[in-house]
Amino acid sequence: MRIKKILIILTCCIFTTGCWDKVEIDRRTFVSTIGIDAGEEISKEKELKKLSPNEPFSESNVKRLNVTYGFPDISDFGPQKGGIAQEKTINVDAYSMEDAFIKATGKNSRNISFGHSKLLIMSNDFFGYPEAVKEVLDYLQREPSLDRNALVVIAEGKVEDYMKYKPDTEKNIQEYIHGLIENSDRNASIIPTDLNEFLTNLDENGNAILPYLTIDKHKNEIKLSGTGVIKDYTFKGILSPTETADIKILRGKLKGGKKVIYEEGHPIDFQIDGIKRKITMDNKDDKLIFNINVNMEGQIKEYYLGKQLLSTKIISEIEENFNESLKDEMEKVVKIIQSKYSTDLIGLREYVQKYDPSVWNIVKKDWDETYKNAVINIYVNTHIRRIGAIR
């Protein structure tokens, strides 16, 4: 009797375990990079608007997007070979992201899986079409298998070129860019942004910044230089690496980086180890006045042989100089952002919203105008804690 019962249970296992969702691992393609570019016919938006929702045959082949999927070549893996595989790409023209996915499935003998996508590259051309951007962003949020941890970058020119690029130190582009961005603890000029932060920033502040990739075809080099500014789903411009570093400081997100001043023609390098930022706000004659206090601490990395640093007087002099120079620099950067891009990259809107809702209720209607006219004062306080191994 007992044996019969056990037999029945065992047969149940055969008939009921996950038959529907079975996919062998060697039948899968794990997409690691998704590249999104504007298609040839993306400017046809007006014609598409004429289509009514109940139109038949709306699946016509409009090349609005050009999507590239990059995936490691799993056949590279084997018992003898370890490490990271070379990357291969599929490129498709499609009218939407889901269409691109279906078309890519048609070009690939294996099941495409998004679960391990780690990098999203979007071209700056693509950000010229806010309607299409909104569609794609909706897809990126709606698709449950997509990872919100994926890093997002903007690329100059055709995305496909970047995906086919073979870096020297890594075997594929995704690892390469990931590595570049992860090093950003040392490099102040990159603000790593993952999909979640990107979407949250767009929602909370109406704008976002993404690391900006450029390619040099003669030298065969890919570089991360500065950041691209996006406002209202359109690409507004590029911030230089120095400007990016300043923004990072003003956002209070800097984890490490360096700043320099010159004294008698010699550079003094200051390595920033930590930063604290505090915003306060005044409201005078319909003008918002923001005071941003930045407290930095760190160490001196380079001075001049024969000169001694181990004196409170010299150190406080250097600190003073840093305070002055950084204050000027950052105030200039803020002016540029205010007037040229009129985007609030520091998070001032968030600040008003969170800490002064009564003011926010008044200014929210024409926030852009209020922001443009706001006075932003910056106070820098540098603390040099260490001076290295010699006096």
Binding site: W20, Q141, T200, K354
Partner: protein, 368 residues
């Protein structure tokens, strides 16, 4: 009343049952609903609804105490007469059945989206219902034991995960505080109190509790645990996604778990693990309500065994769960009917019981 002398439920059993019954599949969409109603002040609304739920629970405890800790159906019969007892009993049964069926549908839709994409909905229904029936047939002592074990199985991993998610959290996201019009708090409380639904399970287990003096204390601990857990989940999700993203995510908690990335990570893609734990979250709610419904049905129709009434409910669960055409309809049905049911079963019923039993003190209840 042989069963009444079987005092089998320990204080911990009562606590675990209360917690695992209340915290179900609903947690995962709770922050979304709150963010839409009151923005960052969701924690306040949770706290207030928790207090209301506690007051209602103490009504239930008091009413049970005044009636000599007998079965809810017997109390109804003694106090209101047979017809009303049958009506109220059937209605309570219907409430539990409806609630778990809607829960089953949402749960299945979510599982299909994140875990088992190709598996037919009907199959997931069947397996869950059959598993539930198996447990319910095991009578109340097994159910309580199951609750006691699942409590740890559920909360140790989930709390660990929540701790890891702190890494991404920006706590200032819940600001500005107290910046909503008062009526939106009222709306928030009405919507949010439904997530505390499930404490009618006390009607079922209070008669079996060993230490009857401590019931009120243990129930209070249970409701506090639920409140703290809900608040933690709410603050973390809003902290990770900001208010605007939380407003559009259907199941922000799952998305949050997917987003967690431990620095220097040795595991990626947690959600597989969490989804499996989540199955227990739903399953405990399901079985407890299912048992409650079956037990009432047994009393109403004077069946000898709970196995029969459990079997009668099975097709109802299956059909009601299949009824909504899509996930949107399931949401609409739940939000439309659960406040009404809540009002009848968990507000009016306890108050009525309390009023009647205290006015007739020393009457029927003690003569038995």
């Amino acid at each position: 009343m042989v069963l009444n002398n079987k005092d089998i439920v320990s204080s911990y059993g009562l606590f675990a049952t209360l917690v695992v019954t209340i915290i179900g599949v609903n947690v995962f969409s709770y922050p979304n609903e709150l963010a839409n109603l009151v923005g960052g002040d969701g924690w306040l609304v949770i706290l207030l609804s928790g207090i209301i739920a506690y007051i209602l629970i103490s009504f239930i405890c008091k009413a049970e105490k005044n009636n000599g800790y007998s079965h809810i159906y017997e109390i109804l019969e003694n106090r209101f007469g047979k017809i009303i007892a049958i009506l109220v009993g059937l209605e309570l049964t219907w409430y539990s059945t409806f609630f778990i069926s809607m829960g089953l549908r949402t749960f299945t839709e979510e599982i299909k989206m994140y875990l088992l994409e190709q598996t037919p909905t009907e199959f997931i229904f069947l397996v869950t219902i059959l598993m539930g029936t198996y447990l319910v047939r095991g009578e109340i002592d097994n159910l309580i034991k199951f609750n006691e074990i699942s409590f740890w199985l559920m909360f140790i991993p989930v709390i660990l995960v929540l701790i890891f998610s702190i890494y991404h959290v920006d706590f200032t996201n819940i600001l500005p505080a107290f910046n909503n019009p008062p009526n939106s708090y009222a709306k928030g409380i009405i919507a949010s109190i439904n997530r505390f639904m499930g404490f009618q399970i006390l009607f079922l287990i209070i008669p079996f509790v060993k230490d009857k003096k401590s019931i009120n204390k243990v129930a209070r601990k249970g409701i506090w645990f639920v409140v703290v857990f809900y608040i933690a989940v709410f603050i973390l999700t809003v902290g990770v996604f900001g208010q605007n993203q939380t407003k559009i995510l259907l199941w922000p908690v799952i998305t949050m778990v997917k987003y967690i990335n431990i620095p220097g990570s040795f595991i990626e893609r947690w959600e597989g693990i969490i989804m499996s734990i989540w199955i227990i979250f739903y399953f405990t709610t399901f079985t407890n309500h299912y048992y409650f419904a079956s037990d009432l049905l047994k009393k109403i129709f004077k069946f000898k065994d709970i196995k029969l009434s459990a079997a009668i409910i099975v097709p109802f669960i299956y059909l009601i769960a299949l009824y909504p055409k899509n996930i949107a309809e399931a949401y609409v049905l739940t939000s439309k009917y659960s406040p009404i049911f809540f009002l009848i079963n968990l507000i009016i019923l306890p108050i009525a019981l309390l009023l009647v039993s205290s006015s007739k003190k020393g009457g029927n209840g003690n003569s038995r």
